[in-house]
Amino acid sequence: MNKLSSLSDAVASIPSGSHVALSGFSITRCVMAFAREVIRQGIRNLTVSQCVGAMDTDLLVGGGAVERLIYGGGSLDRFGRLACVNAGIESGSLRAEEYSSLSIAFRYLAGSLGIPFIPIKSLSGSDLLSRLQEQAGSDVAFVADPFSGERWLTLTPLLPDVAVVQVQTCDEEGNAWIMGPKWDSPEQVKASTRTIVIAEHVVPTEMIRREPERCVVPNLLVSHVVELPFGAHPTSLYREYDYDADEIRNYVEATRKQDSWKAYLDRYVYGVKDHWEYLDLVGGLRRLRTLRADPILGY
């Protein structure tokens, strides 16, 4: 089945108030074009989840699309902190439930398996746990192991309405390859009701069949396939393109003040009609080709 879709149609399939899981990790494989389109379409009150908070989430929060964030902490690596997420937490405008990387991954894993809860050794003895007990008591609970009697912390599954995953390659049915480390993507897509795949390349299914061991997202999970060059820009996509350090620095600078942040949104999000105009705005092919990954190094 051909699931090729425009970015705007794929985004329009997400109602305000949905729970969306995003594939970004800090400044790599972030669904940036998706985040810009969500803000342009005025979708709001989203719940966003992600193991390690990334630039896609930060932009969505800064663009006013997010009500609730379920994550394991995060940053923009050396470039800075998640300024929009942090500002939302500090002012109380963002309801953030903060875990660790593994506890979010285990919550997706439980969701992907269809089991009611998952025991974990993490979080005990920390203020992360005491916060979660005060904040969202229903998602963390201690139980006795029915076999040994040992006391275990357990977490509820995460069951997002839709996973949005940036990949290098997929076919028109949505069978997708992810190159490089996969962090929480495999469990994220399997825990979600459906998945939107954003791919740098869409290839014939015959290509997928030739190297089936590479397939991380089988098409049965996928509702939309969007082919989009540089869809993760200014973050990186391993083996395709490097992160754009100048544009990440522009973003970080813009988040420092309210008026510069508004100007950033006006220029990079609202000021462009679609992803193609965005790519022209950041320098078009002439500049983007300088980010193309070295085929040996992958960056």
Binding site: T28, I120, P181, D242
Partner: protein, 252 residues
């Protein structure tokens, strides 16, 4: 040979690692310490990055775990559930490196916020894999600069537990392991076997006991004899400066 405090911290971290150990590493000084150990006395060590990277051999320095430069030539690329789950949570990580904004005398660490969590605060980075490593690794090594505002009697938030309230409180919380060393730019500490309070082990050359205690917000256990930390060798300094971190990305 002249050396900086950061170089001595990296070397001290490397000395704690043994051949064939499995080590969970974050960006910064722990990367230098781990690659230094692997290139010298611990060639059979396994280096893990939480997002799914096993035994990389980078040829360029990176801005963080998300930089593909540091995944280069990995033996396996997998996922959180693989590294933090089937390796760390399963109990196969011997040593985890941790750093933080604040630590207390029991080795509890804060990377979440500064200020009053119920009032005015600044939110920082949060856990990532740090809480998982602190909870599940057989031992952890804390590497951070020593200033009074960083080593405090009470920290704003416990992101990653050390020995919790000291004594056997960590075990009573259901956690095994715990921190084994704290490496700062002034000294190296262990933990007292019963009280689990930070205990001075060695002082870096050029510092006095006064320099050490005046930059802690609490009184560490001080044994009657405290030696100086062994300085780095010429080979270790060469590897750090020319091979591992030629652009001084991690050493500052």
């Amino acid at each position: 040979m002249e050396f900086t405090a950061s170089e001595l911290m990296a070397v001290a971290g490397a000395r704690e690692l043994k051949d064939r150990q499995v080590v969970a590493v974050g960006i910064g000084l722990p990367i230098v310490a781990s690659f230094l150990a692997k290139k010298t006395h611990a060639p059979g060590m396994t280096i893990l990055f939480e997002l799914g990277v096993i035994d990389p051999e980078p040829v360029h320095t990176g801005v963080g775990l998300a930089d593909p430069r540091i995944w280069h030539r990995a033996k396996a690329l997998s996922s959180f559930v693989d590294i933090l789950g089937t390796v760390l949570h399963r109990g196969r990580v011997d040593v985890g490196f941790l750093g933080g904004l604040e630590a207390d005398q029991f080795g509890n660490l804060n990377t979440t916020l500064v200020g009053d969590p119920k009032g005015k605060f600044r939110h920082m980075v949060g856990s990532g894999g740090a809480n998982d490593i602190a909870s599940c690794a057989k031992t952890t090594i804390l590497i951070m600069r020593q200033e009074e505002r960083k080593f405090r009697e009470t920290i704003s938030f416990v992101t990653s537990p050390g020995f919790v309230n000291g004594g056997d409180s960590r075990q009573r919380t259901g956690l095994r392991g715990g921190p084994s060393r704290v490496i700062t730019d002034k000294a190296i500490y262990g933990f007292h076997p019963e009280t689990k309070k930070m205990m001075l082990i060695s002082i870096h050359p050029g510092n006095t006991q006064q320099d050490v205690t005046s930059t802690l917000g609490f009184q560490p256990v001080i044994p009657s004899h405290v030696p100086f930390t062994e300085p780095p060798t010429a080979e270790q300094l060469h590897l750090i400066r020319e091979v591992i971190d030629p652009e001084r990305m991690y050493m500052g």
